[in-house]
Every structure is written in structure tokens, then in C-alpha cells.
Amino acid sequence: MSATYIAKATQVAARSLEGEMMIMSARDSTLFTLNPVATLIWQSADGSTPLREIVDRKICAEFEVAPDEALRDAEAFVNDLAQHGILIVSDQPIGSAKPEQGGPQ
């Protein structure tokens, strides 16, 4: 099975409010409030750490959850965010995307 890599998309706004992570797609204005597990995945989405490693080293270390179950949930979550353009999901490591230039004043 190939590894899954995740990275934050560029057209996304994120803010932690009282410990809750809020994320909004600037593309379609969809707003997400992440639970603690999802927040950990989001914060770990560096493009180079495989999702399996994020789950094993961070999710399972911090929350009482079986690795396989946690990975299934994590895959569903990242695919959901990818559909809204919030996360980039790839079977290859993802290079740091440069912010888009230009735009209105």
C-alpha cells in the first residue's frame, strides 16, 4: 500500500479560537471547526510526513484509539477536506507550495 502525504492548501484561512481550530476555504467559503484529533492532523500536514506516521506518532500517542481505526478515520477526514480544496492529498511527498501572486488591492 502506498503512503499518503498531506499538505495545507494555499487558499485557506485558519485560526485557533479558545483552542478550537477554525478553517475556511477561501475558494468556496466553506467553514470547518475541527475537533482535537482533526486539529492535530491539520497541524501536522507538512507535505512530507506520511499520514500513517502522523496517526501512529501523534494521534495514537495522544488519544486512546486503535491505529487501524484511527488511520481509516484520518483518511476519511483528509479526503473530505481535500474535496473542499483545504488539504492537498498525494501519494508522493508534497513540496512547499508558493502563495499565488497578484490579486485585488
Partner: protein
């Protein structure tokens, strides 16, 4: 400041939220209509920061879009609805509106232009009534039917109404100022052209009794974003609006205000 040709008197300056917009048109009837509709906000003394020229055309469909559409193309914001087409250049701070002689089209265009200007500086236009009492401003946000006009009608005599429909919020240092607007809802009366520091934001819900309950910042930000007036499909400005909403709910307390429509609800405000 925009350098303007004010040699002729074929214009009015409409000063909303401390953002004076000079509206130019050759029709005395149209300018007279603007002076009446925006009375309290027309100010010939203040230097204009922005300018729009209005081209009046015969009544009829001007744009294909029935709903408001706002897009950015080649350095210009394009605002379209069936009854209007407007172009706005944020760089030169000038624009142009094509519409028939009616008050509603320019009202929409001005709201959207203000929302674009505000988005860049961290302010917001919010679907909310607002009022000033004891030197402090309070916002009452909600969709149509939530009670914006009702809470405005119930305001005590010492409260000064900023609007019963669209609130104008600007960043002021680490806090926010709420300004009066002429954008009226069912009350059909413009707000007062005054401003005050924003002290609290309430989300209105009608209920069997009056109750106020503070809500967490993430829920407050989500609800505030649902009530922000912003139409532009532009990722950069959408990000700014998101940041502004988050900043606002971190700087002022936010409450759910369930109210039974009588004047005692105002005992909970402040």
C-alpha cells in the same frame, strides 16, 4: 485622498462610516433623490475619499445576473445584478455605476463598494441592527425575521439607533467602532450618523422569555460569518473577512440573546 474635480455642483458626497463617497451625476432630480434618501449622511464639507460616476439609463434589464455577482477582472471589481452594473477600481478609488433612476440600485452598489473597502482594512458590514447607549455600541445580528427591526423598535429613549438592518464596523486600534448607516430595513428610517466603540455582539433569537448567554468564540465566529455582507468571490478578501470575524469575536463578548418582544429585553443589554 482622491483628487476630485468638484468645480461643478453635479454631485453629492455621501459619508458613511467615515468613508465619504462622491457620487457624480448630471441629473438634478437624481441628486435630489440621493440627498433625501441619504439625509444625515450627505456632507458637502468633508473631502471625498472615493468617487463614483452614475450613468442613468432607461429602466430595463442591464445585466444577465438576477442575483448579485461580484468579480475581479483586470484591476477592476465588476458588480452586476439585473438592474445595475458597476465597476470599481480600488487603486484609483474611482468607479462607475450604470442603472436606471431609482434608489435601490445605487443603494446595493454602495453597500458592495463599502464591503470591498472595509474588507481590506479589517472592517465588516454585518446583517445586524445596532444602537448606542451610554456611549457604547451594541450589535444585534440575525437573518431576516430574527428580530433586528423588533429590537430596534423596543429600544429605550436614551438609545440612539445606528441601523435596523446593516451595521458598519471598523477596526479602531485593538477594538472596533460601530458607525451609523442609512441602510434601513423594515423600520424604513436611516440610522444616526454617529459612531461608538463596539461593546458587545448579540445574535438574536425569538423565544418565550428574555435570556442572554455568552457563546464561545468559534461558534461566534461561525455565526458572525453567516451574517457578514460580502459577495466577492475572491480568495484573498475572503481570507481577510475570515480573519476580521475571528479578530472581532476575540475582542468583544458575544452572546445569544433570546427575547420575547417587550421592552424588558433591553435590561439585559450592556
Amino acid at each position: 485622498m482622491v483628487e476630485l474635480d468638484t468645480a461643478t455642483d453635479q454631485y453629492v458626497v455621501i459619508d458613511i462610516g467615515g468613508m465619504p463617497v462622491l457620487v457624480r451625476n448630471e441629473s438634478p432630480e437624481f441628486l435630489q433623490m440621493l440627498e433625501g434618501r441619504y439625509s444625515g449622511f450627505v456632507n458637502a464639507e468633508v473631502p471625498a475619499a472615493f468617487e463614483v460616476e452614475v450613468e442613468l439609463v432607461p429602466p430595463g434589464r442591464i445585466s444577465e445576473d438576477e442575483d448579485v455577482a461580484v468579480r475581479f477582472a483586470h484591476g477592476w471589481w465588476i458588480i452586476e445584478r439585473g438592474d445595475l452594473r458597476a465597476e470599481w477600481d480600488p487603486g484609483s478609488r474611482r468607479g462607475r455605476i450604470v442603472q436606471s433612476q431609482n434608489p435601490y440600485s445605487i443603494d446595493t452598489a454602495l453597500r458592495i463598494i463599502h464591503s470591498l473597502i472595509l474588507a481590506r482594512e479589517g472592517g465588516l458590514l454585518v446583517h445586524a441592527a445596532s444602537a448606542v447607549r451610554n456611549g457604547k455600541a451594541f450589535l444585534f445580528a440575525g437573518v431576516s425575521g430574527a428580530g433586528k427591526t423588533t429590537i430596534s423598535r423596543l429600544a429605550p429613549p436614551d438609545a440612539r439607533l445606528l441601523t435596523d438592518e446593516i451595521s458598519y464596523v471598523r477596526r479602531n486600534g485593538t477594538g472596533y467602532l460601530a458607525h451609523g448607516t442609512p441602510f434601513a430595513g423594515e423600520l424604513a428610517e436611516p440610522g444616526e450618523n454617529i459612531k461608538a466603540p463596539l461593546a458587545a455582539l448579540y445574535f438574536l433569537e425569538k423565544g418565550p422569555r428574555n435570556a442572554v448567554e455568552q457563546i464561545c468564540q468559534s461558534a461566534a465566529a461561525g455565526r458572525l460569518l453567516e451574517n457578514v455582507l460580502f459577495f466577492a468571490k475572491d480568495p484573498e478578501l475572503v481570507q481577510r473577512v475570515f480573519e476580521s470575524a475571528c479578530d472581532l469575536v476575540r475582542s468583544v463578548p458575544v452572546y445569544r440573546l433570546t427575547f420575547y418582544p417587550d421592552q424588558r429585553v433591553w435590561e439585559l443589554i450592556g
